[in-house]
Symmetry: C2
Subunit: 196 residues, 2 copies
């Protein structure tokens, strides 16, 4: 959903061709989210179909150039002024995994949490290393690269905090109901609790 808007936003800076758009996108996001070239072309086709961009012929080097239309400009403006909705957040695979690990018998939730934390901490170290190897180009896009990287760091840290929180909560829950539970136990317990 965000590729369309990103391409439109880039085209607000002036007409560009497909390959160039990918380059600009990846420069600004520090190659955090590699963008398939093929998708750029298909997206451009769809944007043109919807009247948000239009083919602007070829430039001096023979590149197939697209430019944004007025409708497209409105779209970008709307994108920038509308906050990202949290009412329907994208599915969080980790949250789903833990939610199910907790309720499905025979899964060692503790191990799942530990492995995830370890993986996430490795990622954090990689981010730190990336940040030290740091901005080289001196371009203004270094700023956005830094911000994107920080966003990864912040969300990885939040993930680790959440994992710790989960562990603590599970320990408390385990104290209240110490028994290892089989599928039959779960059913029995459910009945039991309904009975209250």
């Amino acid at each position: 959903m965000s590729v369309k808007q990103a391409l439109l936003a880039l085209l607000e800076q002036g007409p560009m061709y497909g390959y160039q758009l990918r380059g600009e996108f990846e420069q600004r996001t520090g190659s955090t989210w590699p963008l398939n070239v093929g998708q750029v072309y298909t997206t451009l086709t769809r944007l043109e179909r919807d009247g948000l961009v239009e083919g602007a012929g070829s430039d001096a080097d023979g590149h197939v150039v697209y430019s944004i239309t007025d409708t497209g400009r409105e779209e970008v403006a709307a994108w920038f002024t509308t906050p990202v909705a949290r009412t329907q957040p994208p599915r969080d695979e980790l949250a789903i995994k833990l939610a199910l690990a907790v309720t499905v018998p025979g899964v060692d939730v503790g191990t799942v949490i530990q492995q995830q934390r370890s993986a996430t901490m490795t990622a954090l170290q990689d981010y730190a290393r990336l940040k030290r190897s740091g901005p080289v180009s001196g371009q203004p896009s270094d700023l956005s690269w830094g911000l994107v990287l920080d966003s990864l760091v912040f969300s990885a840290e939040a993930e680790i905090r959440w994992l710790d929180h989960c562990e603590a909560r599970l320990r408390r829950a385990a104290l209240e109901r110490p028994a290892a539970r089989t599928a039959r136990d779960v059913a029995a317990t459910a009945d039991e609790e309904v009975a209250r």
Copy 2:
């Protein structure tokens, strides 16, 4: 990508039918990520095609029941033991938006940030209200519901922290290069910096 595994994990608890699977999924995630019923059926069809589940006829009430296969069980086990990869994180719309807002001239980044923070804080209040209205059923799935809700809270808090961080960084950057910049300015500055 996570719906497949979620359905498989649920089927490890025993054979179920489509509608039931949706109910179980939503109960565990507290309806945070509503799951379209249609998708359950199409996903079940694909899972059967791939040999991860198999139709198990009809139960006493005539429901079309599916059960997990051995291959499916391996798949679930692999899912639970493999940490969610952070090497290719899903595209973060907000991060992309800010990264582009910073580099595209004519966009007031400050306003974008403020609006987003306001929206996210509203979401946080909603989460708090939800949490107070709290677990009613007394079912064991209340635990996972609470954890999922906490994950939303943690990531919303991280988002706000990141937004503050962005504001601070942008203020610093503005002090170093105070001039409002047009597209031409950007190009000129880029040339200037390349020249060094």
